[in-house]
């Protein structure tokens, strides 16, 4: 029996494939590469910060390092991470479809992504960008002597890849669901990717036009944002954050979606408050469009604006909290199994809660004035983006690994890596809360000696974290060749993706599945198999 991997072995069959599963694999490979480039920049940053003096890199190089880290990690890892890899692979399987609605558009999206990544990497290797990932004007347009326009072009192109992916998911989820699979029978992973797709489609074009304005100002010297000739640099911040704050939710909603699947599967229970969790995703997506001004509390915007944005930021916390409470309520009286994916999911809940609550600190106007541009902010968003999203990404990767590759990985090593990632992460980023509270500003590579102890702890933690991120490369890589063959449903999970062989055949299902049961029906699910 042929599956999607053994269908054809030629290189051509990979690079011209329209199979969503193969395109997901192409994304996996690209993202691993980009993750290590972004990670290399982070490594250099942490090594430099181990001592108060500048002893590894110059100020100029340091600026380029954190910019490169930010640009690569945000646009070329986190935003595509769960949607384009796991989402691409799992969405059609989960809804009982044979592929995404537009398979060729899906492939085009990967090529656009690679083109964008190549141009951005070119900018980095030509000499880098020193503006920070936020590309604030007027520095980025008038003063910076780095490759801003090239990097902007790369991000612009990658943005269209995001838009096409979002469009594909929206149409697929609306129109390609299996018979009987109503909206309220959908796994919550689908709901969260649906919400993510709305943001991808509606926010990314604003970034695109903002980058066009930025490039036009930089190349032609016209004053869209130049205050000397009538422009307003704050307008850039408004436009940028109108995209980039919703983009923060692109970087967490898919992770939340993964966690729904893991928590229910490993507590053998249906989710607590399905409809609340489902609508919370859309509420986050909608309210997320109305909070961008909280990045600009000290920019000089009016107090009224700040108050409104502060209030809206609190509002956005409500659906997020609903999710966290519903996950813990799902765990309550469940039959818990601490398999590796579950360890990641539990880690996610803890780290996301930390990141979310410190976000509420920052949403308070009075506190934010003190914390702006300090390590407190850095720690906060790393708890969400790394502690939250990357942890969920790893959890989902382990959970669906048998489905994707048809092989079982080493549970022992997987648990070890999950625990190490949790410990290493906290050791890296918790000290940064303290550094921020004590007033250490971000984006500096020299600092007063009294900050050193926390920086050394953070750098030490980063070593553990880096090693823990490398571990899966080995045992997952090993499992591809030597792992035990995976059965169709090793975890005894619900969801259509587990009702087809691992790995699935080219068009996913041998016959069209029909759904007649509610989601997460773990009372009637098969027992997990110990392979």
């Amino acid at each position: 029996m042929k599956n999607y991997l053994t269908e054809d072995y030629t290189l051509r069959s990979w690079f011209f494939t329209t199979d969503h599963k193969r395109i997901a694999i192409l994304y996996f490979a690209s993202l691993i590469f980009l993750f290590f480039i972004g990670g290399a920049a982070a490594t250099l940053i942490r090594i430099e910060l181990a001592t108060p003096q500048a002893d590894l890199v110059s100020s100029d190089t340091y600026n380029r390092l954190f910019t490169m880290h930010g640009i690569i990690m945000v646009w070329f890892f986190l935003i595509p991470s769960v949607p384009n890899t796991l989402g691409n692979f799992i969405v059609p399987l989960m809804i009982g479809a044979r592929d995404l609605a537009f398979p060729r558009l899906n492939l085009a999206s990967w090529y656009l992504f690679m083109l964008g990544a190549a141009i951005t990497l070119l900018a980095i290797f030509m000499g880098g960008v020193d503006t920070g990932w936020t590309l604030y004007t007027p520095f980025s347009t008038l003063y910076s002597n780095s490759y801003v326009a090239v990097a902007a072009a790369g991000i612009f192109i990658a943005g269209f890849s995001s838009i096409l992916t979002g469009l594909n998911f929206i149409v697929t989820i609306h129109k390609l669901r299996a018979p009987g699979l109503t909206w309220y029978r959908l796994p919550l992973f689908i709901w969260s990717l649906y919400a993510t797709s709305i943001i991808l489609v509606l926010a990314t074009p604003v970034l695109a036009i903002t980058l066009v304005l930025l490039a036009a100002e930089r190349i032609f010297g016209i004053g869209v944002f130049d205050p000397r000739i009538g422009g307003d640099p704050l307008l850039f911040q408004h436009l940028f954050w109108f995209y980039s704050h919703p983009a923060v939710y692109i970087m967490i909603l898919p992770g939340m979606g993964v966690v729904n699947e893991l928590i229910t599967c490993y507590s053998r229970k249906k989710i607590f408050g399905y409809k609340f969790v489902a609508w919370a995703s859309l509420a986050i997506a909608a309210a997320g469009f109305l909070v961008w001004g909280h990045h600009m509390f000290v920019s000089g915007q009016s107090l009224t604006a700040s108050l409104v944005f502060s209030f809206m930021s609190f509002v956005v916390a409500v659906p997020s909290a609903i999710k966290v409470f519903n996950w813990t309520a799902t765990l309550h009286k469940g039959t818990l199994r601490f398999d590796a994916p579950m360890l990641y999911a539990l880690g996610f809940i803890g780290l996301f809660t930390m990141g979310g609550l410190t976000g509420l600190f920052l949403a308070c106007l009075a506190f934010d004035v003190y914390a702006t541009d300090t390590y407190f902010v850095v720690a906060h968003f790393h708890y969400i983006m790394v502690g939250g999203m990357v942890t969920a990404y790893f959890g989902g990767l382990h959970y669906w690994w048998p489905k994707i590759t048809g092989r079982m990985y080493s549970e022992y090593w997987a648990r070890a890596a999950a625990i190490l990632i949790f410990l290493g992460f906290n050791l890296t980023f918790f000290p940064q809360f303290i550094l921020g509270a004590e007033g250490m500003p971000r984006r500096y590579h020299v600092y007063p000696p009294e900050f050193q102890v926390w920086n050394v702890l953070s750098s030490g933690g980063a070593t553990i974290l880096a090693a823990a991120y490398l571990l899966p490369l080995f045992y997952l890589g090993y499992s591809i060749f030597f792992g035990a063959k995976a059965p169709a449903n090793p975890w005894g999970a619900t969801g259509l993706e587990w009702q087809t062989p691992s790995p699935p055949p080219k068009f996913n299902f041998d016959r069209q599945p029909v759904v007649d049961s509610p989601p997460y029906d773990y009372e009637h699910a098969p027992e997990p198999q110990n392979v």
Binding site: P103, L167, V171, L213, G221
Partner: protein, 214 residues
């Protein structure tokens, strides 16, 4: 009446195929709204900050060409809509004639736009390339013309894409009347064409009309 090859392998029915196409285009148009929306918002902010200069700049635009172009584009949209009707009715030659008319009108629009750009270049109204104005409103006029060139340029690129799409459909006008797949495709392309038209109506009001009332 579906024949082999009429539906892609991953879809199950002609109805599903048509719905997927249509929803895909509407989703794409929503992203386009935000693309132009960002630009239009920038314009609104600056116009709000400096209404006098923007009125002054608006008076320097060529309203005759702008108005003629509006009529040209609206007529082209009518042709596309009529071509879809003709396709449904099975009138292949009418489809051909109407699509050709829409393509020609779209091209006329681009030609007139070129004439307009050339005139603005002669008047030194092109920021970043040749902009020389005097008087108290120079900065506002420059901001206006930055928006003018970016917005109409972006619109022209969209129109060019639309023309290419219509040329592709024109080449297979016979299939449109006998294969539902092609007709569904044309209907989707029509949505895009009408959208370009709607964007132009907004741009027309923002660019040519301020400063000309009262």
């Amino acid at each position: 009446m579906s024949e082999p090859g009429d539906i892609a392998a991953h879809l199950s029915s002609p109805k599903q195929r048509d719905e997927v196409l249509e929803l895909g285009m509407w989703t794409f148009l929503s992203t386009e709204v935000l693309l132009f929306g960002g630009l239009i918002m920038t314009y609104m902010v600056y116009r709000h900050a400096d209404p006098v200069s923007f009125a002054e700049a608006g008076r320097q635009t060529r309203i005759v060409i702008g108005t003629a172009n509006t009529a040209v584009l609206l007529t082209s949209s009518f042709c596309v809509a009529a071509a879809i009707q003709a396709g449904q009715a099975g009138a292949a030659r009418a489809v051909k004639a109407l699509l050709a008319a829409a393509i020609i009108l779209g091209t006329i629009f681009l030609g007139l736009k070129g004439v307009e750009y050339a005139g603005e270049y002669r008047d030194h109204l092109v920021p970043g390339i040749d902009f020389m104005q005097s008087g108290p409103h120079t900065q506002g006029v420059r901001l206006f013309f930055i928006f003018y060139f970016l917005a109409t340029g972006l619109h022209a690129v969209h129109l060019l894409c639309g023309i290419v799409v219509l040329i592709i459909f024109l080449r297979c006008y016979r299939q449109i009347v006998c294969h539902p797949r092609y007709l569904a495709g044309l209907r989707t392309a029509g949505l895009y064409w009408h959208f370009i038209d709607v964007v132009w109506i907004f741009l027309y009001a923002l660019i040519y009309l301020p400063g000309r009332s009262g």
